[in-house]
């Protein structure tokens, strides 16, 4: 237990994290690429065709993991926001800043793929369905966080401002989801969902699980990669960066 704690504390210091990130990036990349490719190839290439929607349902292997990631990255940001507010950990603040564009990217993928999926299934690019609407609002929350951070010149101050917003967001997001559901039932009682059959067969379900896992691995890789850049650009004047990164 204390070893984990010590490790976590050590990771909180930028030079230590930078060293760890540089040495483990290839491994993370390899793992992410393997799981990601296996999941997607299995899902798109080899899983059985859905009897109702046909082959277009295969978008699920891109859409659902992206949507899951979109939400979990937000929760992740809120947790690191909380940590940075309570313990003032430097890395936690940078984590929010590095995770936000990635989260926004996956939210965008979820939105666009949902929209592309909607065209053959509903006959229109966009439907104000509860799930799509709350994902759109999530995208705006991401945009708010990115915008706020980029408009504050002092990066440490920006971290703290963004942490507050992330923590507030995690309280608000469930309320938004509930209210959008309520708004949806108010306007049109019969909702149609994209994931048509409630009980999927294991041949369809298993690749989806692998895909979700692969997306998570990919996220960890992307986050480490981007955090590394963030650390260097923030600490470029520190002596350890000069030694380790610029090599003089």
């Amino acid at each position: 237990m204390s070893r984990i704690k010590n490790w976590l504390i050590a990771m909180g210091s930028p030079p230590h994290f930078y060293k760890w990130a540089t040495s483990s990036l290839p491994w993370l990349a390899g793992l992410a690429v393997i799981v990601f490719c296996v999941g997607l190839t299995w899902g798109i290439g080899f899983s059985p065709t859905d009897y109702k929607q046909g082959d277009v349902y295969r978008i699920i292997y891109i859409h659902v993991p992206s949507a899951i990631l979109a939400e979990s990255i937000y929760i992740f940001m809120a947790i690191s926001g909380f940590i940075s507010m309570v313990w003032r950990a430097k890395i936690a603040g940078m984590l929010i800043n590095s995770a936000a564009p990635i989260g926004a990217g996956f939210t965008l993928v979820a939105l666009l793929t949902g929209s592309i999926w909607g065209k053959p299934t509903w006959g229109t690019w966009w439907v104000w369905d509860a799930r799509l609407t709350s994902t759109l609002i999530l995208f705006f929350l991401y945009a708010a966080i990115i915008g706020l951070h980029s408009s504050i010149e002092n990066k440490t101050k920006g971290d703290r401002a963004v942490a507050i917003l992330a923590v507030l967001g995690v309280v608000i997001v469930p309320i938004i989801k509930k209210s959008v559901d309520w708004w949806q039932t108010l306007h049109q009682p019969s909702t149609f969902t994209l994931t048509s059959s409630p009980s999927m067969s294991p041949e369809m379900y298993l690749p989806l699980l692998v895909c979700v896992l692969g997306f998570y691995c990919l996220f960890i890789f992307m986050l480490t990669n981007s955090l590394r850049g963030e650390i260097i650009s923030r600490e470029r004047d520190k002596s350890w960066v000069k030694k380790q990164f610029f090599k003089y």
């Binding site: 929209s115 609407t133 945009a143 708010a144 990115i146 915008g147 408009s151 306007h187 049109q188």
Partner: protein, 226 residues
Amino acid sequence: MTNRDNTLDWFMLVLRRDLTLSFRRSATYITPLIFFLIVVTFFPLALGPSQSLLGSLAAGIIWISALLSSLLAVEGIFSEDYRDGTLDQYFVSSEPVFILIFAKVLCHWLVCGAPIILASILSSIFLYLPSGALFALIISLLLGTLFMSLLGALGAALALGKSAILSAIIVLPFSIPTLLMGTAIMSAAVNQQDYSGFLSIMGAMLAVGIPGLCLLTVEAILLNYE
């Protein structure tokens, strides 16, 4: 000093400088864009997701949202340069102020208006705008947002050093003709009628507005220096 080559250099310098500054601070072009999309999203939330209802209101919704969001960043056109002394130095140098103003307006339009036009294509899908009217939407917004940037610069110059919302309030009443022309174009396009007449009126407004409004803005800016 002010031969033609130099004037062009001067124009390009201000434009490049302002664009560099805008791109370094991503909030300047993201904020109006996201504001636009959020406002557009609020209409289905408030009115309900019915396709036929939204489709008939789409053009108006998009136009109002575009007007509001193009005024969002307008205060920043001059305020930062005014506060940190850049305008002082530019005015003392013998380069023409008119060119400076025009470059700044153009930069505001490129950074703020052009992304809104792209977002309006997206929101035309959100709001089920009849697809035949999409071209009319783009072309009318192209002219409309440029006019709004010109008007906004004037408002920003008049309200220089005062509250940010003031410049928007000053400008909004004067944007009514643009709004009317824009929505006229849109309703003609939705009903598949000829809208070239409205379009040329708008073009004429712009042709008068670019030199006219820039000159007024020069006057308004120099007011702060007397």
